[in-house]
């Protein structure tokens, strides 16, 4: 890039773990760290806002408020002081899904801390996905796993909620258990799926496909070009 080109990009001052770097203002936090020379191993995953690897805590110069975001989904700002939360040692309860039921009693055995929620709402305030975390914890406490499953669905398991919880609830693991319970026991099974899987296992779907597997390319192309397409 020419010197003139460089001048046209506005730079901002950021502080990665307290250390100063000047970076182009168009970058995300993740790109800015790489621009500054970091070769990321922890704190970087899908780079598209799905995996929760890059939870970041930051503060702007002159402000006391801590803000959060995903490094790959947050643009740098002037005077940003930042650090990543690449891992959080949250506990996961092991369970056999066939041995538990969607009941408050079973849930309390797996995650007793869920029932100690103080209602401070720190978890919801810190969620980069803007999920009402405290509300789904309340649904779990009431045994309303359907609502907890629905409300927690967009969770990326980044761990920020857990980092702020005064009673050490591991919200993301509790939510995942709630969703698995909902799907296994509360959502109704598809009326046709069982029939289809049985047919496949019994071999009654074999003849139709084996005809196609044996067909030559010319015939297949013709069948493909003329296939009926569901509206």
């Amino acid at each position: 890039m020419s010197e003139a080109g460089k001048e046209s990009i506005k730079m901002v001052d950021i502080y990665i773990m307290g250390k100063h770097y000047a970076v182009p203002e168009t970058l995300t936090i993740m790109d800015a760290m790489e621009y500054a020379g970091y070769r990321l191993t922890r704190g970087c995953g899908c780079r598209a806002g799905f995996c929760g690897a890059c939870a970041t805590v930051y503060r702007l110069a002159g402000d006391y408020e801590l803000k959060v975001g995903l490094a790959c989904q947050t643009r740098v700002e002037e005077g940003m002081y930042l650090a990543q939360l690449p891992f959080f040692p949250g506990r996961k309860a092991d369970f056999d899904l066939e041995e538990i039921k969607p009941s408050v009693a079973d849930f309390a055995r797996l995650y007793p801390e869920v029932f100690r929620c103080l209602g401070c709402n720190s978890c919801s305030k810190v969620c980069p996905q803007d999920i009402d975390v405290m509300q789904y914890i309340a649904y779990i406490q009431r045994g309303d796993f359907a609502k907890a499953a629905d409300l927690s669905f967009d969770c990326l398991m980044c761990g920020l909620c857990v980092s702020r919880c005064p009673v050490n609830i591991v919200h993301y693991n509790a939510a995942l258990t709630a969703r698995r319970l909902y799907s296994r026991y509360i959502a109704k099974p598809d009326p046709f799926l069982e029939q289809r899987t049985r047919a496949i296992e019994e071999g009654t779907m074999d003849a139709e496909i084996d005809q196609l597997v044996a067909a030559d390319k010319e015939k297949l192309q013709k069948l493909y070009n003329n296939r009926e397409i569901e509206k």
Partner: protein
Amino acid sequence: MVYTPQLRELMKKVEESRSSRVGVVYPRMSPEERREVLQKFHPDYIEDGFRNIEVGIDKGVRMPTEMADIFESYSRLKLNEIDLAAEPDYDVDVLIIGGGGAGASAALEAHKAGADVLVTTKLRFGDANTMMAQGGIQAADKENDTPAIHYLDVIGGGRLENVPELARALVMDAPLVIKWLEDMGAMFDKKEDGTMITGHGGGTSRKRMHTARDYTGAEIMRTLRDEVYNKKINVVEFSPAVELIVDQKGRAAGAVLYNLETGQYLFARAKTVIIATGGSGRLHYRGFPTSNHYGATADGLIIGYRAGAKTIYADSIQYHPTGGAYPPQLLGLLVTEKTRGLGATPLNINGEQFVYHLETRDVESSAIIRECEERGLGVPLPTGITAVWLDSPLIELIHGEGTIERQLPAMLRQFQRFDVDIRTEPMLIYPTLHYQNGGLLIDDSARSSVENLLVAGETAGGIHGTNRLMGNSLLDIIVFGRRAGRNAAEQSKDMNVPEGLNLDHIESYHRELEQSGVPADRVGPMLLPHYTHR
């Protein structure tokens, strides 16, 4: 707000024509038109992006230049850095390299079959393209559909180049996979009565796309991962395999692992090895941006190839038609095909549709490239590239207000973070490097051409021919992950602990490289892309 005044001016044309476009179906291309647009505009057909590799079992095979460079590379390992005569750090029945959807499925099935399993992965467990797959997973589990109808879609979309037994396995296992996942507690979109809500994808003839909002892959991955932990299967993170180890007969017998955080080499001895390391989008073929995970650097392809595993369709790369083009923070980001499945259409600078919105991915991408390059009807962006509109607000007109928030929450959120509201503002898109259609050749039991080496997921090739359909990748990783896990475990029951562990294949590969004059500083696998100071 983030769109410049020039873009806002151009956007007016999209807004003006929107209501007149509702319900109007743009004609599909004829087979001849499809062939023509592919040959003129699909990057797979642009010869200067390819060369033939000169070493290894597939000497003479055509590959993208960036892939060939990595294939023709020296080991990262100095051969005196590891003593294979010492006690192995891990000693298992089944070693699974890769912690995405294929690796996790393999682990669960191998464990169920009674095997002692080790999963090793480069980044965190679950850091994989699986996690990012938004659009859905196909399975013929409706009354108007059958695996045979699914099969015809798969091979027609794959340009009839699929390995028939692999495509057969894919579609026949599909309903079983949906049931397996649901029984494990994965939450698919359903109606009150339990009926799966399914839709179309590019190239489907039946509505068989199952979804979990637009977090389908994430939902599957986190469920599988949770279950692997429940079963207490050993998972070692931040430890990519940098070389396969073979026994005295040249059969796969383990791998050398590299601890990314401490720089230490360790090694695992195993009766059977499954490679499930995913794709290669981070090699950025032809300079394309990619929708792939940070770790998608073809590692498993290379170490498998060095040990003698044959490839298939290494020159077939999928460009997803709708990658983010603007704002720049979203460059390359996948805009899920579900967006088009719900009715959003691509439009040129004049606000006119120029291609049916649900052609197969290869054709749709080629048509977008043609619109920008040949016809000059792309939208010029402040960043210097051109793009086309994807009219997402049309979805709300067709299906009613609130549809985007319900059906595309991830997409809505991602664009909102950079000040674009896709409910009222169209997106700007351009094809992005998305998927490796080919890979290491397997059979329908997921076995490669190297004994005791199995391959599953995006690293495997042949299933999708030279063009994969949406929703068949999430399916493929589970189908072949499960088959690999089961078969590796069964096989290992009758096996003795491998003897005479060695890396002789690396030494002979190095000799070939030297004979071909490959420069000594070309080292692989890459492990992580180089983005510092870009």
